[in-house]
Symmetry: C2
Subunit: 212 residues, 2 copies
């Protein structure tokens, strides 16, 4: 036995445990929320001893970092899916905002881990403003395409940050109970989101011909 036995209960020494741990963590997150995400619970879920994860991650933080990383990639994909919707800037940015917030609503626990890590580090994931297909760059490139070359990079960056902050704020607060009456009055959650997003981002600021 050994090398050949593919899908045994324990293919390798234990198998690809690093990935198994991240998957287990994601499973716990979806099933029981962030408060249940202890390192021991992850090990239990993966069927190993509590000390096993320490051969793949320096500590609990490093595991959470890995979990957050897959979350950021999934968020990036979700936003790429809508990058062709929307004729003008306003509606495209709204579409991106809806995609962002909907992701956070579909994976609330994961989203919380993602931002808890960022807050602890006081930084977004490394390289987020550089690598081409990240959510952040997608927003910035959208702004840049629309604004044209005359607009200063500083303004592009400020607009991107502003949009990002707004989306993040809405993602964290959209489910708050106080908004339920308004949500229902508008006929559902997505209408509510679009309503809020329509009040956010004065994208006209970026145009060169200020009609004001």
């Amino acid at each position: 036995m050994s090398t050949a036995a593919v899908a045994d209960t324990r293919p390798y020494h234990h198998g690809d445990l690093r990935r198994a741990l991240v998957d287990a963590a994601a499973r716990i997150l979806e099933r029981e929320g962030p408060s249940a995400l202890s390192l021991r619970a992850v090990a239990r879920e993966a069927g190993v001893s509590p000390a096993a994860p320490y051969h793949h991650f320096k500590d609990k933080n490093e595991l959470l970092e890995a979990v957050a990383h897959v979350g950021w990639e999934a968020l990036g994909e979700a936003m790429l899916d809508v990058r062709d919707k929307g004729a003008d800037v306003q509606s495209l940015m709204t579409e991106l905002g809806v995609a962002y917030v909907c992701f956070s609503q579909r994976h609330p626990a994961l989203y919380r881990v993602m931002y808890d890590r960022s807050r602890d580090k006081d930084a977004l994931p490394e390289g987020m403003q550089d690598k081409e297909d990240s959510a952040y760059c997608l927003v910035r490139e959208t702004f840049k395409k629309v604004a044209g070359p005359e607009v200063a990079d500083v303004d592009i960056e400020l607009a991107t940050i502003a949009a990002w902050c707004a989306a993040h704020g809405l993602a964290e607060m959209s489910g708050f109970a106080q908004f339920n009456p308004l949500r229902e009055a508008l006929g559902g959650d997505e209408a509510f989101l679009r309503g809020v997003l329509s009040h956010l981002g004065s994208f006209g600021n970026l145009r060169q011909d200020p009609a004001e």
Copy 2:
């Protein structure tokens, strides 16, 4: 001894322990951050046994709720302080936004506790949209005053929520390391904040004469 001895080491049975615990928690928060805020540490800081807090709070959550409550009141006061600055809406809202974010920067740990509690409950503090001098109502009333009576309440509420989300997002992300180059390029943190806030909130939406 007893009733008369005012400021002894332990005036009452223990004194006003409930308040002492909240104060101790706030002290730990400022000194060591949110990760150090254990119930036992609070009890230690207040000089009582680990079980003592349970005679004043159902559990740790309830203590944190009390801590968050004082935080929300302090935030409301900080925003009331600037409610007369700024000639037009845009600049007044910017001023309020700066006050909001600066509060979160002055008390980062407290701000985090405040929103962690809200996220757990999926709700802002109870009564926040009702009691007159809350930060939330201050923003809404500002919008209402400017918009005039013709604007629908729904739009006022949406604008308020949008502004709040934007401010919260900026509060949580303003310190992120990725923004440091831009912050320095703009000549300091407050300039950076104003720059981002200027791209947020298309307050013109609320005016009745859409010059568009």
